[in-house]
């Protein structure tokens, strides 16, 4: 009988799969309470390293054409579809859901990437404007990504919650440090493998597994993070307070549904900045 080769569950930082700098792991059990894996437990240093690579990757990603970003998001959907069986198996093992339920979650995750992919070159068509000012000026408002986003995926979802946390941030050109569900982190690591093979530039998405309330304060108080999504946190008020120090944009818990095959344009816009440019008209 052949012995199965098991995977080491690591972090995803800057397009690479490091262990936690701290060397820490935590035990994840399956839905029956049986040991499944030792998963990397991210540390403060991992958070800080992730912010550095997210910052350096952000301007290049924002500078890519919307068409290019759209194709990469669509490519993520393609790669996810190709590994459907693995995700279904992981969801079932972790949550005890039946095959149909697990497939539905994977369907929604894939379709949400497709939904978001289509938005890259349409955001300004519906949320930008040529402004009719009372003077001889060309005046236009467009939207640009806010920068580096820290986000806490919902704790009760293996995959689709994480997808609906990452996609609305990166669709417009933000980079992200996403904290996976603490008890359901297996799909997050597999999703990182999908992202790594989808032509997404390294550092645009960084996924950390570990304890959200421990990592939360370091991300919320980090001065080089522009926005924070508090969905999966258990101490949201405290983190919102820390986030105020550099006036991070805050998405409060429960603001948007994370379970569907579509997202919300407002969610995307919450992580963008309206920029208005004026120029005189004349000869």
């Amino acid at each position: 009988m052949r012995l199965e080769v098991k995977k080491t569950y690591k972090l995803f930082i800057g397009g690479k799969f490091p262990r936690s700098e701290s060397g820490r792991v935590y035990i994840v059990n399956n839905h029956k309470g049986v040991f499944l894996a030792n998963v990397a437990k991210a540390s403060r240093k991992d958070v800080r390293d992730s912010v550095v690579v997210a910052r350096s990757a952000q301007s290049g990603w924002a500078g890519a054409t919307p068409y290019n970003r759209g194709q990469i998001l669509y490519r993520i959907a393609e790669m996810l579809e190709g590994r459907r069986e693995q995700f279904v198996a992981e969801i079932r093992e972790l949550t005890g859901q039946n095959e149909k339920q697990a497939n539905q979650e994977v369907d929604s995750a894939i379709d949400s990437w497709v939904w978001h992919a289509g938005w890259t070159d349409k955001i300004d068509a519906v949320a930008g404007n040529m402004n009719p000012v009372a003077g001889p000026f060309f005046n236009i408002s467009t939207n640009q990504p806010t920068g580096v986003v820290a986000a806490f995926a919902p704790q009760d979802s293996s995959l689709v919650g994480l997808v609906n946390t990452i996609a609305p941030a990166i669709v417009s050109g933000n980079s992200i440090i996403a904290i996976s569900s603490e008890t359901l982190p297996i799909c997050a690591v597999t999703l990182a493998e999908v992202l790594e093979t989808s032509d997404l530039p390294g550092g645009v998405v960084n996924i950390l597994t570990g304890n959200a309330s421990e990592l939360g304060s370091w991300l919320a108080s980090h001065l080089d993070v522009n926005a924070i999504d508090l969905e999966g946190t258990s101490n949201a008020a405290e983190l919102e307070m820390l986030a105020a120090e550099n006036l991070k944009r805050v998405i409060r818990k429960g603001s948007y549904s994370r379970t569907g095959a579509t997202g919300s344009l407002q969610h995307i816009l919450d992580l963008m900045e309206t920029k208005t440019v004026w120029h005189p008209k004349g000869h």
Binding site: S141, E273, V277
Partner: protein
């Protein structure tokens, strides 16, 4: 050069009452707990106003809640719009009086209140009046809803204009408001209360509470307030963001700035110099989006500085009521002290300050227009918002260096670019992290144009459809 004869506007165009209470539920309360508000150009007392207490704030919020539930939310959009049109017209009718009142209480030149502030106040109400019956087109789907009661806190640099930016979209969207003007400039807001009465606006839709920061904090903290709109310093913005953490209250924060005004060698230099002057000396530099960091391309540094100094020698500082005055009074002694402290610190850190020879009046608070050269990006006057007529000058060689220096700030409210090359302007506009980019112009404002910042300059937009969205939520 020819000299100018005095051309003062008449102070008699406005009559202030000796003392004012708050405007709550359509009526003025009895003045209580009063403090003096002065003319910063003369230090003469203009009137006494009341310092709002927790009880005042509570009764104002109650009046706003009652008006929201019983009246304002029941009116159709078209009717709400008609009230706003009425207000816009009354502002136009009383514009001369309002301009004089604003200049007397703020210290800014009558030229600016007459030609910029008050016309924008009227246009803001006129613009948002038209949105009131078109909310389905705001971008949130059909039947968007108002938040309810909004606490609005405005600064002293554009007192009535900031009131208009806050109240017009809030009312168009169907909210009712409690507004606090700044402690040093409460008078035009109190005149606006009279305008609400003249327009027969239903009682309690607009409530004005005067006072200091403690009054504002009570307005933010009141449990029956749904939304906060604040314009002011980043430090206070931080406090507000912390105060509402963990609540359901929404906030729009329009905070500080340290705008780069970038002049390329191919710019029309005389126009650019006018833009630099307008960018930093407009309204005594008491402008959150002021172009307070000049970035000039090294090859034209000498000629730009020479032209700028020559232009500054012709700036007229003095009586704000004189129609020829370019720079009026600093709004308060406190602000004057702050400007002075920051400039001295900048000089201590190696900057060279220069100001034209101008006569400083004896009474009142004044600061000569000043440029500081020889500063590095680390100098205090380059990093901190001075909020006065003080320009820091740095140079750059390449567009990439200009972008890096411009974006090297905790703020991101506005930026200026001067170049005759279209492709360069568009690329710069893409790369500058600022909510407003003025190319070959500066300090332009319009109710149809969204305004607001990136990073620590705050969040949310005022103006245009985007500004309306700050006061609405989706229907589900």
């Amino acid at each position: 050069m020819f000299d100018y004869s005095p051309a003062p506007e008449s102070k008699d165009l406005v009559k202030f009452q000796a003392s004012y209470g708050h405007f709550i539920g359509g009526k003025f309360t009895k003045p209580a707990n009063t403090f003096s508000t002065i003319n910063p150009a003369t230090e003469q007392v203009l009137a006494e106003v009341s310092h709002g207490t927790a009880k005042d704030v509570d009764s104002a919020v109650k009046a706003a809640r009652t008006a929201y539930e019983k009246t304002w939310s029941k009116l159709n959009g078209a009717t709400r719009g008609k009230y706003l049109y009425r207000i816009a017209r009354i502002i136009q009718e009383r514009s001369r009086e309002l301009a004089v009142a604003e200049t007397l209480n703020n210290g800014k030149p009558i030229k600016e209140t007459r030609d910029v502030d008050i016309p924008l106040v009227a246009s803001w109400f006129f613009y948002y009046a038209g949105w009131a019956d078109k909310l389905d087109y705001a971008g949130l789907g059909a039947n968007p809803r108002a938040h309810g009661v909004v606490s609005q806190i405005v600064p002293w640099n554009f007192p009535l204009m900031m009131l208009a930016w806050k109240i017009a979209p809030a009312l168009a969207a169907g909210n009712t408001v409690v507004l606090k003007p700044a402690e040093t400039t409460p008078l035009t807001a109190l005149l606006f209360a009279e305008i609400c009465q003249q327009a027969e606006l239903p009682d309690g839709v607009v409530n004005i509470v005067t006072g200091y920061g403690d009054t504002g904090a009570m307005m933010v903290g009141h449990p029956d307030v749904n939304k906060i709109a604040f314009t002011g310093s980043t430090d206070v913005g931080r406090i507000i963001a912390k105060q509402i953490a963990g609540t359901d209250k929404k906030a729009t924060l329009e905070l500080g700035g340290k705008a780069a005004n970038i002049v390329f060698e191919d710019a029309a230099l005389d126009q650019a110099v006018e833009g630099i002057v307008n960018g930093i000396f407009f309204n005594q530099g008491h402008v959150c989006c002021a172009g307070s960091r000049l970035l000039v391309q090294e090859s034209v540094q000498d000629v730009v500085i020479k032209k700028l100094k020559a232009r500054m020698e012709n700036i007229r500082l003095g009586d704000p009521m004189d129609k020829n005055t370019d720079i009026g009074a600093i709004n308060s002694k406190e602000q004057l002290t702050k400007i002075d402290r920051l400039v001295k610190q900048g000089v201590k850190e190696g900057g060279e300050a220069w100001a034209p020879s101008c006569v400083i009046p004896k009474n009142g608070f004044w600061y000569a227009p000043t440029i500081i050269t020889g500063v590095s990006p680390a100098n205090t006057v380059v990093r901190e918002e001075i909020f006065g007529p003080v320009l820091s000058v740095m140079t750059f060689r390449t567009p990439a260096e200009a972008v890096a220096k411009a974006n090297n700030s905790q703020y991101g409210l506005s930026a200026g670019v001067w170049s005759e090359k279209g492709s360069r302007i568009l690329k710069m506009a893409d790369q500058l992290n600022a909510g407003v980019v003025w190319a070959n112009t500066f300090n332009q404002f319009d109710p149809a144009s969204p305004f607001g910042g990136f990073k620590e300059s705050g969040y949310g937009r005022e103006g245009g459809r985007h500004g309306l969205l700050s006061y609405l939520k989706g229907s589900n």
